[in-house]
């Protein structure tokens, strides 16, 4: 039996990889930026994550891919969409989450997650790059600033301006026009992030506004985007420590389910955890003992304690 699984998010602008152990703990993760759906980036992310974990590809029991390039990866055993994987990854990172906002390089999605920790409803942009990382990238170019600087500069906005077009190309014209009228970079960038927030609010309402809200994807690292989205929602947005890897983590967790199910079918025991059913139930629920109410679930200490005891027991046997 192999002792690790891998998730790869082959995104439109970055490639992410995560390695998990059989308990679902993150052993290593990596993010590589190499351009649009880049083979080099995905190889770099995979090589890096394997090197960090001290593993080789042959040590990986199951590899699941997601993202735009999910079908292009020979090393992946299965692939799932970003929607399914981000939902799974986000609830693993923030168990109480019931709404996931994922803004990536070329698309933005809102995903409501149901009581089983599965996707209940989703909405995504499908006609243009409105409200996505690409939108920010185009406008950063128009403003002659680096993408990474955008959020900090936008936080300095003093007055409210408006960008009415959601088309990145038309918005670029508006941005140039606002600058020509003498508006500061800060104020114009504030309007750019406000436009993203408005678009996101529209997507949120398509699936139903409810909390707790967690944000994943690269744009979650932009503090102005988060600020304006929180303002538009009128709700706090929870940020995982590593929002960019939510998709890869979700893919890896799905791979872990799949690998364990296969091992259970073949009758092979798990070294670290003999209680396969309990482990599977644990992994499939958003939090231990979750019955659809995360607040109530947080109080179900016996389930978590029992799991911990089981793991400790196995550890003792191991030694």
């Amino acid at each position: 039996m192999k002792k690790h699984v891998m998730g790869i998010d082959f995104g439109s602008t970055t490639a992410k990889a995560v390695v998990l152990d059989m308990q679902g703990n993150i052993v290593a993760w990596s993010v590589a930026h190499m351009g649009a759906v880049s083979d080099a980036a995905v190889h770099q992310a995979v090589d890096d994550v394997l090197a960090q974990a001290g593993l080789e590809q042959k040590d990986i029991g199951r590899c699941v891919s997601t993202g735009y390039g999910r079908r292009m990866l020979d090393i992946a055993d299965k692939n799932f969409t970003e929607i399914t994987c981000h939902a799974r990854g986000a609830v693993a990172m923030v168990p109480e989450a019931r709404l996931v906002i994922d803004i990536g390089g070329q698309d933005s999605k809102t995903i409501s997650v149901d009581a089983n920790g599965l996707v209940a409803q989703f909405a995504m942009n499908d006609r243009c790059a409105a409200g996505t990382g690409k939108f920010l990238e185009v406008l950063a170019r128009a403003m002659e600033i680096e993408l990474d600087e955008m959020g900090d500069i936008a936080m300095g906005a003093k007055q409210e301006l408006k960008i009415s077009s959601m088309c990145a190309t038309f918005a670029e014209t508006e941005v140039i026009s606002l600058r020509a009228e003498g508006n500061s970079k800060e104020d114009v960038l504030g309007a750019v992030h406000q436009a993203i927030a408005t678009r996101t609010l529209g997507l949120v309402n398509r699936v139903g506004k409810k909390g707790p809200v967690v944000m994943t994807g690269g744009v979650a690292r932009n503090k102005a985007a988060v600020h304006y989205i929180e303002k538009a929602l009128g709700m706090p947005v929870i940020l995982p420590k590593t929002p960019q890897i939510a998709g890869a983590l979700g893919a890896a967790l799905i791979g872990l389910d799949d690998y364990k199910a296969e091992l259970a079918e073949s009758g092979e025991s798990l070294d670290e955890d003999h209680d396969v059913d309990a482990q599977m139930a644990f992994d499939k629920s958003c939090v231990s003992g979750c019955k659809g109410d995360p607040v109530a679930a947080a109080q179900t200490a016996p389930a978590a304690t029992s799991k911990l005891k089981s793991m400790l027991g196995n550890l003792q046997k191991h030694f």
Binding site: I83, L118, Q121, M124, R206
Partner: protein, 406 residues
Amino acid sequence: MLLESRVKEQGSILARLGEVCTDPLGYAREWKARTGGLVVGSFPMNFPSEMAHAAGALPLIIQEAEDPITAGHGLLFPFYCGYTRSTVDQAANGELDVLDAIMFGDHCVQLLGAADAVRMSLKNTRVIFFQLISSMCDPWTLGRAKESFEKLREELEDFLGRKVEDDALRESIRLFNRDRQAMRKLYEMRVAGQISLTATEMQYVVKSAMVMDRREHLELVEALVAGATENSPAPEKRAIRLHLSGHFCQAPKPELLDMIEGCGAVVVGDDLYHGFRYISTDVGENGDPMEALAHWYLDRNTGVPCPTRVQNDVDWDAFLLDAMRKENAEGMIVLMAKFCEPHMYYYPEVKEAFEKAGMPHLLIETEHESMALEHIRTRVESFLELVKRRRGAAPVVTSAAQGEVA
């Protein structure tokens, strides 16, 4: 016949039907050159093609073309649906010159506008306009439907310069019924897993019936039915069983249907006009054929409810849920043509009913000009993943899935 040659024959039949669907006006030109007959075009939905057939003409339901709109932009606003804009464009570009007459019905406001634009473009083509009562459950509905069909018959006779005889009409009704029954047999076999026909192939079967000489079509479809035995390859059992709904006037693009099935689904039923809606109902073969056609018009709306008709005792959403139960379908994809007002009007009811029933569904809006297939693929795959993962989940989830266009 050996399995290999049977499969080969079925493949060549489907290829022939596909050719007709890809170039319906090309077929009409070829038929006209071969027979010297007249071609009578019509808008989709409720035109009784049997009448034109009985008069010796080739009835052809005008199809949306693949070509981007060019000349048509000068005649119809971009907020008309893809079907009406494409039809007007084909008229403006001279493509519809092969039609000797066109029968227009008033099924929605956009078709009315398109009828005027086509009339302006085709000055030498006889345009016959007929109105059908849209209220389906009034005491006078049957009488009014019969009156409309009588008027249509008179106009046809005037155009053709000869009578449409009752006996000829009965003969055409029998032929069309037999063809519809053969196509419905394929639907039954598909649900039962006795034949493996993709959604695109099923569309070829039905759409070609709207274009081809019916006898020629019947021969090909009956050969398909006869060739499909227990040896036919059954669809992948693990695939998600889907029902497709919507698209009234135009056929969904084959690349979209192929993409949906390519994501791991198998379409087991539909209420598409280029599908079960078109073939759902037969015409009575005995008695007064005009009375029978009027009854057919009423029966069609109970066979497969239509959002362009009003009938208090018929619910489209209830029909869909019932059809899906019979087909053992696990989810539904709604294909809504952009700017299709009747569909837009009724969709909220369908959505509400599906959410209440806990039946997952996905809405996809389609366009004539372009579709971002990769984006749609992500939504379809997510939807199928959701349905698949719920197979094993506890039945506490009642909300439906909806991947809306943003």
